[in-house]
Every structure is written in structure tokens, then in C-alpha cells.
Amino acid sequence: MFFGSGVIKGMLVTLKAFAASYFRGPDKGGIFTVQYPEQRLAEKENFRNFPFLVYDKTPDNLRCVACDICAKECPPKCITIVREFDKDNKPLKRPAVFSIDHTVCMNCGICEEACPFDAIFMDHNFEIASTDRQGDLLLQKEALLKSNDYFNKIRPTDASAIDAKRAEAEAKKKAAEQAAAAKAAAAAAAPKLAAAAADKPAVPTEPPKTV
């Protein structure tokens, strides 16, 4: 081989790639970049960005019970939760304040893993650039809330599994309640009371005891 043949062979490789970029598909050596934002790649289902809170049907029905587990697990401690209290100062199972600081959050997904109530999940929305640190990047509860339908749309596999799990738990609880109600009805022979008990809305389960 003469001196310089290596360079020439290398040049041929680049020439081939140059030509291929016009005539070939992306998987056959052609251009594999896309013109964002006009063109977009399909999102991966497991893609995680920042967390959001899920609600069922209406925003009042948020699943979060303000147990504070996610805030404790969060490595950079960017979740702030304040529990809501009712008029008699009794703690409610919902947060009054739930904020996530996007400037601190490191998109690790640990909150999603740790939440025992399937209330917090990682979002796909990555177009969140902003010049307003406090307003747009320190997200409050209202901005974090997203519907279960949205969750089903972005991550169908996970969402349907979780929906199935929740439905099952719900059904079990209903059955248990009905059984208890039937028992009570049989014992007290007061059908009215039993009906009232069966109609009672489902309450979220207690968090597993952690030490």
C-alpha cells in the first residue's frame, strides 16, 4: 500500500456516508437526525422527566394523601408538602401545599417508586424552559395536578396496570364492606343502616407502617 492510501480509503468512507445521507433511510446510513420542533421522535413510554400528581376524574379527587413519604425519599429534598386541616383542626388526607422545585429536582424517579398510593408519576413534558424561576419552575399543587386520563395517554402500560390494581383493591374493599354491612344487618336486623354503610364512599387505605 502506498503512503496516503489510508487517508484516501477514509475519505471514501466519508464520501459514501455523504451520498447515503441523500438516498438512504436513517437505519441504512442516511440522515438520522430530525428537525425538532417540526419533527419529533416518538416518546419512549418509560421516559421520565419531572413528576406530576394524578387525580381521578376531578382535580379534587387527587390520590395523594400527604403522607410525606416521597418528600422524605427524594434525594435532593425538592418536594414540600403541608397537610390540610379542616375547621376543627383535624388533619385531612390531602395536601394543602404540594410543591416541587424543578430547579432542584434531578428527575430520578424515586418519588414515583416510593409513593404507596400511586399518586405521583414521572411526566413526559420536557418543554418547560422559562425565565421565571419562582412562577414557572417552582410548581405548586395546581400546576402539578394531571388527570388519570393523561397518565393513561402518556404511559399506557404502567397506567393500565395501576388502574387494574386499584380497581381490584377497590372491589375487595367494597366486598369486605358489604360483608361487614351484611353481618351488621343480620345482627341488628336493621336494613336501613346496612344500606347506608354500603353507600359509603371508599376511603384510601392507610399507608403501610414504616419505621
Binding site: 480509503k9 468512507v13 419512549k44 418509560n46 428527575n107 424517579g109 424515586i110
Partner: protein
């Protein structure tokens, strides 16, 4: 780059009396002190080299690091074991899977956790894919430093992109994977993903051939790299250099072979060694290592069993990693990272937080040898030598 002329007597004296001037010449020349970096494209991040030049020849070179210091070790001592996992992603941000691997391995050693078979295989697959990602980009950037501006890098990045897609699919993130858990994994890999990995493994040799046609016999590359920045075998061992840098100097030391951690001892693969220890050998050892990685991947994909992805012992901590308290003791776990021996040393006092946590960062230790390799070389070669070490400042400074 700021330049400043002076005689810098003191620097000259500390540089082991290296004499490059022509003794016959009667012309008085001055040495020149140059700051390369911290904001310089060739330094691969915020890194500074205080170089003293005589003409174009380097007489002394002092690496200055710490610009990217984030207090990783201290932070890790103030949080649960599992919460450090996403932080390890950010050490060597090119190889988060390997970093996860090292940390998971250490804690598993500390708490004597047995890892299910399938997990081991998936871990090996991810670690080897990471090695491919790292080595192609390292070579690409080395060529950047040589002046082949961005053509090889883009060839490399085209392949890297496909592998990052896999990472995103399994872990949710392209670079900050946070995929490993103590005793298991974040989630299982689906058959579809394994199929995709198979596709990559099948096509990668063709890419490597193309890459090699582009580079290996290229006369310019050979002239710039051969006999440049030679790292003698003894010096490499004495300075505890690890990784491709060490193997390019001809020392057969690969932790995958030495320790046989995880399931590496089940796979057939060779450890490529360089004859001389110059920049060219480092380039070529990396190419060969990628070919070996492909062999491992091939075997791992064939042998991957079905099964659990979490050790039974660790199941209670999946939902509450904060409550994981390893027994009192200490452990040092290490993996063969793409850049060298990545080790984690951890001391537990029985609480949920490590009492001491230390990272043995290969980039950092490999960087200590830079001056010895650069002395007597041209400044332009010093840049190439730095590129051939393959450092990531996230790991150097931590």
C-alpha cells in the same frame, strides 16, 4: 487561553530539571507559561493545565482540577444508601450504568445480598453497552483533539444514539439512568428491548469496520499518535493507572477477569493489550475492547435466563429505600469501568446512612500521570495525550 512570558525559574526547577534546549545553541530563549483551560474545548470540561513551554516543547505541566467539585462524597454520607444511586449517575455522566453497577455491587457486598441470575445478566448487558458508548465517544473526541473536527465524533454519536435509546427505554433516561437497585433493577427488560439490543450487537461490528477503515490505517492519525505520550509499564503500575490506559501499556489487568464479579467469569473474552503504551495503542486497545464487549454481549443475550428482578431480601425496601440499614462493617466494591477501576468504599455504622463513603474515580487517578507523559512532547501532542487518557470531569472532581 492566556499567555504570559516570563523566565519562571521556580517552575523550571521543580520540573525535574528537564532540559530540552539545544546545548550548542548560544541563543538565550525564554520559557513560556500557558494556561490551557479551564474554558478550553480541548480540556474535556472545566479543567486547567498549567503548561511551561520551551519553544513548543512542554517542560512542565501541572493539572489543576476541582472546578466541578460537587461534594458528592459528603452528600452521600448525609442521605440513605439508595438515594446516592442517582448521584452516582452524575459522576462519569457518560457511563451512568457502570457507576450504578459499582455502587450496587458495593452495597450488596456490605449487606451480603444475593442477586438473582437475570439481574446479573441484565447488568452485564448494560455495562457492556456502556463500554461501547464510552469507547466510541472517547475515540471520537480523541480525533477531535487531533484536529479531525467532528467527523469521527458524529460517526461515533450515531451509534451511541442507538444505545442511548435502549437506555431510555429501560431506565427512562438517556444518560442519568438510575437503573440499578440494591439486589435488583428498577424494572425488567422486555423481550422487545432485548431484540433491539440483539440488533445493535449484530450491526455494531460493521460499524467498527467502517470506523477502522476511516481511522486505523490513516497515515495522519498514525503519525500523530504513534510514539507519542508513551507510558512505560512500570510507571503505569506504580501510579496505579487502570483501564484501557494500563492495558495499552501492556499490563494484563482487567477487573472483569481478576475479580470475575457478577457473572463475568462465565463469558469468553480476551483482554487486549498494547505493545508500547503510546496514544495509538490506547486508541487501538479501545477498538479491540469494543469487539470483546460485543462477544460478551452476544453470550449474555444468548444466556439470559428468565426470573425475578429483585432479591427477596430487598423486596421490603423497594417502596421504602430509606429504611434499608446494612449491618455494621465496611466494603469496597469495584467494577471495570470503561475508564478504569471504579471503586466505592463504604463504611456502615448500622444506620440508614453511610458513615463514610468514598469513590475511587479512575479518571482522577489516571490524570495524575499526565505530566510524565507530556514532558518533552509538543504542546499539540499534550492535548492529544490528555484526550487519550479519556477523562470526564464529573468524575475527576466529584
Amino acid at each position: 487561553m492566556t499567555t504570559r512570558t516570563n523566565s519562571l525559574k521556580t517552575t523550571m526547577q521543580t520540573s525535574k530539571n528537564y532540559e530540552v534546549r539545544d546545548p550548542q545553541s548560544s541563543i538565550e530563549t525564554q520559557t513560556l507559561a500557558i494556561n490551557v483551560g479551564p474554558q478550553h474545548p480541548s480540556t474535556h470540561g472545566v479543567f486547567r493545565m498549567n503548561v511551561v513551554l520551551d519553544g513548543e516543547v512542554v517542560t512542565s505541566l501541572k493539572p489543576v482540577m476541582g472546578y466541578l467539585h460537587r461534594n458528592h462524597e459528603q452528600i452521600a454520607e448525609n442521605m440513605s444508601y439508595a438515594a446516592s444511586m442517582p448521584y452516582t449517575d452524575r459522576l462519569d455522566y457518560f457511563n451512568s450504568m457502570t457507576n450504578n453497577f459499582g455502587w450496587a455491587l458495593t452495597v450488596e457486598k456490605l449487606a451480603a445480598i444475593d442477586v438473582p441470575e437475570r439481574v446479573e445478566y441484565v447488568r452485564v448487558i448494560m455495562a457492556e453497552l456502556t463500554r461501547l458508548v464510552n469507547h466510541v465517544s472517547a475515540i471520537g473526541f480523541l480525533l477531535n483533539d487531533l484536529g479531525a473536527f467532528f467527523t469521527p465524533v458524529l460517526y461515533a454519536f450515531r451509534e451511541r444514539e442507538k444505545i442511548l435509546d435502549i437506555f431510555e427505554e429501560v431506565s427512562g433516561s438517556r444518560m442519568m439512568c438510575n437503573y440499578f437497585r440494591f439486589g435488583g433493577l428498577r424494572r425488567d427488560v422486555t423481550p422487545a428491548v432485548l431484540e433491539k439490543i440483539r440488533g445493535i450487537v449484530n450491526k455494531f461490528p460493521a460499524f467498527l469496520d467502517e470506523f477502522e477503515t476511516l481511522l486505523t490505517k490513516n497515515e495522519i492519525l498514525c503519525m500523530r499518535c504513534q510514539n507519542v505520550g508513551i507510558l512505560p509499564r512500570d510507571l503505569a503500575v506504580n501510579a496505579s493507572i487502570t483501564g484501557p490506559l494500563l492495558r495499552a501499556s501492556g499490563v494484563n489487568y482487567d477487573i472483569r477477569k481478576v475479580d470475575g464479579y457478577s457473572v463475568y467469569n462465565r463469558f469468553e473474552f480476551k483482554v487486549p493489550l498494547g505493545p508500547k503504551g503510546d496514544v495509538y495503542d490506547r486508541y487501538y486497545v479501545r477498538i479491540l475492547e469494543m469487539r470483546e464487549s460485543l462477544k460478551i454481549l452476544d453470550q449474555a443475550l444468548k444466556g439470559i435466563p428468565a426470573g425475578e428482578i429483585m432479591a427477596k431480601k430487598m423486596l421490603p425496601f423497594v417502596k421504602s429505600p430509606r429504611n434499608f440499614k446494612p449491618p455494621v462493617g465496611e466494603a469496597y466494591g469495584r467494577v471495570e469501568g470503561p475508564k478504569g477501576e471504579l471503586g466505592f468504599y463504604v463504611v456502615s455504622d448500622g444506620t440508614a446512612q453511610p458513615w463514610r463513603y468514598h469513590v475511587r474515580a479512575p479518571s482522577f487517578i489516571n490524570l495524575t500521570i499526565l505530566e510524565d507523559m507530556c514532558r518533552g512532547q509538543k504542546l499539540a501532542d499534550a492535548i492529544v495525550i490528555l484526550g487519550s487518557i479519556d477523562i470526564v470531569l464529573g468524575e475527576v472532581d466529584r
